[in-house]
Amino acid sequence: MNLANLIKEFITEAQEHLVTAEEDILALEEGAGEDKETVNRLFRALHTIKGGAACVDFDRVKEFAHAMESVAGLLRDGTLLPNSEITQTLLEGMDKLKSGILSGKGVLGDVDQILQHLQRIAQQPTQSASPQSNPVKAVPATIFDLRKYDTSEAKSQGLHIFEILLDPHKECSRSSATPVALYESIGSLGILLDSKPEASAFTAAPPSFSDCSFLLATMIDDPDLLFPGLQIEPLSFVHYTPEEFPAPAESAPPPIEVPKVQVTANPQPPVPATSREQVPASRSQEQTVRISVEIADKLMNLAGELVVVRNRSAQLQSSGNTREISAVNQRLNVVTSDIQRIVMRTRMQAIGSVFGRFTRVIRDLSRSLGKEMELTISGSDVELDKSIVDGMVEPLMHLVRNAVDHGIESPEERRVGGKSAVGHISLVAQHQAGLVNIQVSDDGKGIDPKKIRAAVVEKGLMTPTQVEDLSDREALNLIFLPGFSTAKQITEVSGRGVGMDVVRASLQKLGGIVEITSVVGFGSTISIQLPLTLAIIPAIILAVEEQCFAVPQVNVIEVVWLHGDEVYQCIQKIDESEVYWLRGNMLPLIRLSKVLNIPRSYVDPISGDIVADRREEAPDRRQKGGEFDTGKRAEIRDRRVALENALYIIVLRVGSDTFGLCVERIVDTEEIVVKPLHDKLKASKVYAGVTVLGDGTTSFILDVSELARTGGIRCEKTETQTTKVLANQDEQQKMLVFTNGVERFAVPLSLLMRVDEIRIQEIQIARGREFLCFRNSLIPLVRIEQAITGISSLYDHEFLHVIIPKIGQPVGIAASSIIGIVEVENANLIHSTDQAAIIGSQIVNGFATTLLDLCALVEIVEPGWMSSLDMPNAAANRIILAEDSFLYRALVTSYLRGIGLEVLTANNGKEALEIIRNTEVSCVVSDIEMPVMDGLDLARHLKSSEAFSHIPLLGISAMDEKIMRPRTLDAGFDDFCTKSNLPMLGEAVKSLLARVREFSP
């Protein structure tokens, strides 16, 4: 091993110790001085660093670490008690040490002051507390006078000297050894300078003396290692470090004066100093990952298994036994995914390694800024890919510093604002739907959207009208715009020219999304969503001409497949730009072949040659007219790739924007291994990485946001458009349509758990009722005709569809066939009152369709099956629902009754207000958009009235939650829920009701 490698090893090792050491110093400062393990760990860490530094000839680092170690040693022995002066000095020392080591050169810079400081601290106690006062020592005894011995040899070798007092009877009986064996074993770990009694007294016979002492010079410098190594339990001992060896005249030489000791305790051979210059600093910091032996073992086993599978596959190759071969392939599949999973685990690192360092940051910042602060960390054990964890350090540092500098007020301001003087900052990491969510929050003054708006206009980033159109939430997120900084004054802490735009950019590089929420006076929260890993991602593989490209599935919202004439009819052209109307919303389109400038070609039907396609895109041709008439169009399509004359629109998400990417072919979806791009390829910009596909071809991973930019799609959109679009969907509800016999029925999709197809034979009969096996339990099968009279029951002889709702306990609802999912609008609903299980009927896609009241239906057939809520007081579970849409009112009422609530209904806010004045209700659920009096007005009325302000309000809307939630909460609602998800709405109501019960006696 040459010096370069040695240094690498040293740096890797030292990094770990530096981290733990710093944490321990901070813990000491917090008052963990009582905890012996903390001090021990600190001592060991510094000691290991010292040893390592000596090995790699970092003399200055070694000296310095030694000085720190001496202080830590005194802390460990209890001769020195930690105080802020000591911890401060140690922390400053840690910084120097860190920079010295990580530079890879061992140059410390100016450390004399800290060194002196350390020495002074180290000397304080040595005068007052001589080794005798060491608490470990039960008997203060120095039997041997060290000055009588020649310690120069031991000193030059860096040996430590121990004076050990033993009970020979105890030692001999424990190890069932003779005194002579004891004597020899003690001598085995060093040089025995002297003993009392003399060596000759140790014989094979039982010891004739009651205690014995040894003076041992050894390379082991830690008594905790020495005694277990010798297998003895001394009554007491005295430990002399080489520096403490009494020179004839001096009594306590300063420890730093003897740094030239070669640490022989380390097995690494000393390395000639001449080769040191060959190590460039940049490469000495090569990254390493430590993995547990358990993982290594598992990998070893899997590797073994892989070999077995390979051998088996080789044997089968010639046999042609397809069944066996497919079995081997399956096995291979399992082994590969196992290996993949475990290898991924080796790359996973707890986010705690990043969070941990903020304890120190907050501490230092609170001192330098004169603010009091407390840091709460949770979710330190959440694991992320190492590359992501490493990449999070800088952005998080910036965010935390921002929170401290701009967020938290000075203690006086806080007291004036009625808050505790201590500011709180919290770092939270948690798993959320396959992503990791990291939040940095503070309880400071918050960010005022008005100020942001003003600043954006002032800086000329947007016009006043543009800014006014933004919601407060969107305005807040303007701080991520390049060139934005609200700090009036650039302080040293944050705002060193790096803005939030850099934070966002670096998080985006990690595949992260960042968003800010803030309440003026109460603080701000920045949430970051990150993928678990970047190394292997699911992707859609597309093809343009013969070349494949991968698009990460994270960016894909949906894929629209157009075929036949749809290709020409559904895509419209505005000037040179194409658009597609996706469920009524405009979707800008870009064609991959055009963006990537790939010449299109087709196979000439006569000659079979590949000919460059000079045609313009589809709509253009149609406009030319004459040349291609509709009948022929199918024939002249690209005959080579698009057999079925199709076009795929991949709907992609960039931030909050969407656009469509047109391709002719989707090859597959595949889990791809992301390989980094060479610098030469980065210049092309549109690629995020490169990968090797299953068939061995290399393919580029497209960077969706760059692709949009190259395609001319600008990705900062204002809210107004979105709101308008979403308002269209306000009165829509996704429904599952199915038939029972000849009639069509519809149920809200959000209430369904799953739809299964079963064989008639699977239906079980018990107590004259029909049951199904579902997840190992029997659930009743409900047939609609049981609840609603006059419905034909016409089922297939073999198969039956079963719809399982996710309300109450599971039941199966029989259906003869499933039509599909449609969006039902709240128009032309024919209200029916004669049948409890029916909400009404309506024309859906040209067929009369009956909308079912699921809860009522099940309640009729299986009384008591649905209601799981048990409430004592009628008024306590009486709620009022204000909603103008009949369909939705019926659905929500049905659902809420299903979970055991009494529901009163009102058509608008005014009606609701009337009812509330006359009847006691425990909760108000209100739509926002209503005629006569809308939900926001209703909320303001209720909250301003003393009699009703205690009633919890739940706002519901079909519009985007991001936009509506802040609005409704501003108006006084206690919670917000989207209309589309009934179970979530039910939960929200329940939790509001629970809150009421908690507060009322």
Binding site: Q547, K675, P676, H678, K680, A683, S684, T698, F700
Partner: protein, 161 residues
């Protein structure tokens, strides 16, 4: 003085050589995946046993036009920084970082012999070469009919990086 060995190859316009210790492998120029919107001397990427290798068109690197890929075309794949570092007795006279951690290959017209020469036979590049071109040339060895131009891979990679 020890003999030096060079991998010689033809690129339309001349005979060139790389120090053999720089070269990892030579592979036929097939299955090169083109790079749409490519920049500079990039020719494409190629999958070598699961490793993605960036292929640079050496003729473009040297200031010429793109080469047509023929049956004789080969890719000379260079070692990466860490692969060179693993060989303790060889230090090329350019910054190793130019080789990078992702392997790079040069597309050449055809590959010739391994040329073994005494260091004394290596001449400096003639002074009237274009300055840019001259910086790529480490030396010239007299061979017949064409002189062997020894290229400095680091300078080529560094120039367009």
């Amino acid at each position: 003085m020890k003999h030096q060995q060079f991998v010689s190859f033809q690129v339309p316009g001349g005979l060139f050589g790389f120090d053999i210790r720089l070269v990892k492998e030579i592979t036929p120029a097939v299955h090169i995946t083109p790079v749409p919107l490519k920049v500079g001397d990039v020719s494409g990427v190629v999958n070598i046993r699961g490793q993605v290798v960036v292929v640079l068109d050496l003729r473009v690197s040297l200031g010429g036009s793109e080469q047509q890929i023929t049956d004789d075309s080969q890719i000379i794949i260079l070692k990466t920084t860490s692969e060179i570092e693993a060989v303790s007795d060889y230090t090329p006279n350019f910054d190793l970082d130019y080789l990078g951690s992702i392997p790079v290959g040069f597309l050449v017209g055809s590959v010739g012999d391994i040329v073994t020469v005494e260091p004394s036979r290596i001449e400096d590049a003639p002074s009237h070469l274009l300055a840019q071109y001259r910086s790529y040339v480490e030396g010239v060895v007299r061979l017949d009919p064409l002189p062997l131009v020894i290229l400095n891979a680091g300078a080529i990679l560094g120039a367009t990086a």
